[in-house]
């Protein structure tokens, strides 16, 4: 096949064709969205529309009742299961400071619904069904 790459005689000063390019140029590369497996599910994530706010309640009832939705998770489901998710990493012994952690992180609020739709674009309706106040 004409799309293999021979090792160059020298590296510096040579124009070297990338070995990974043929599959990228011909549409045969597989990105995550190109993968289809039996029983594959798709996740939709609902984020807070506010950068810094207190979340009082997330209502997942309508999302869970929607046809095709397998589950809906919120921060409450991760209580005692997941550690607090760090929003940044501070260099040790530095005097850098982080203010209050963003609400989305503090409350572990990211609501998520998972649907068994065959295609990700078909699961859109389940996302607006989650009510975040």
């Amino acid at each position: 096949m004409a799309t293999t790459v021979a090792a160059p005689a020298r590296v510096f000063g040579s124009g070297i064709k990338r070995r990974e390019d043929p599959r990228l140029l011909t549409g045969t590369a597989r990105y995550t969205a190109d993968i289809t497996l039996p029983g594959q599910l798709y996740a939709a994530i609902l984020r807070s529309p506010h950068g810094h706010a207190r979340i009082r309640k997330i209502d997942t009832a309508a999302a869970k009742a929607a046809p095709g939705v397998m589950a809906a998770f919120t921060g409450a489901d991760t209580e005692g299961v997941l550690q607090t998710i760090p929003c940044a990493w501070l260099v040790p012994n530095s005097d850098l400071k982080i203010g209050s952690v963003p609400a989305a992180c503090e409350e572990r609020c990211s609501g998520m619904s998972v649907t068994p739709s065959r295609s990700s674009w078909r699961n859109r309706p389940s996302r607006p069904l989650m009510q975040l106040t």
């Binding site: 799309t3 064709k17 990974e20 043929p22 140029l25 011909t26 549409g27 990105y31 065959r118 295609s119």
Partner: protein, 156 residues
């Protein structure tokens, strides 16, 4: 409601029943499993889904599968069916016109459309012609060089 369509893709005819709302890009990716055509934005801005529809470069997310009934579509899978890259693909490879490759199929068809209309475009004309195609690896400089190399090689 299902609509019967007959669409020839890369020289092969497909007769399928589709929802009227089904986009051509979803027909290609989901119905035919031709995933070389990419969806980058959902809003017709990024150009990753560009294919040839009866020889014209179109964003396949702006076209319904039903609109392509009776038409011939060329996707990236159809450009090098025997493993021999076409001159535009060769030029992108030689000039490092891609990094992650996600925008590349669309870039190649936008390039094809440009070179069909103008076989010797200036760098400015290339940038103008590719303004509907986004590259998030910020590879535009080498993409322009790739198009220039393709033009110099007589690519269409």
């Amino acid at each position: 409601m299902q609509l019967p369509v007959s669409i020839t893709v890369n020289g092969r005819r497909y007769d399928r029943e589709v929802e009227p709302r089904l986009l051509l890009v979803h027909f290609l990716r989901d119905t035919l499993a031709l995933t070389g055509t990419k969806i980058g934005c959902d809003t017709s801005q990024c150009g990753a889904c560009t294919v040839l529809l009866d020889g014209v470069a179109v964003k396949s997310c702006t076209c319904l599968a039903a609109q392509a009934d009776g038409s011939a579509v060329t996707t990236i899978e159809g450009l090098a069916p025997d493993g021999q890259l076409n001159p535009i693909q060769e030029a992108f490879w030689a000039k490092h016109g891609l990094q992650c490759g996600f925008c590349t199929p669309g870039m190649i068809f936008a390039t094809h459309a440009l070179l069909e209309a103008n076989s010797n475009p200036s760098a400015e004309q290339i940038r103008h012609a590719l303004e509907g195609n986004m590259c998030r690896c910020t590879g535009y400089q080498n993409i322009v060089r790739s198009v220039q190399a393709a033009a110099a090689a007589g690519a269409r």
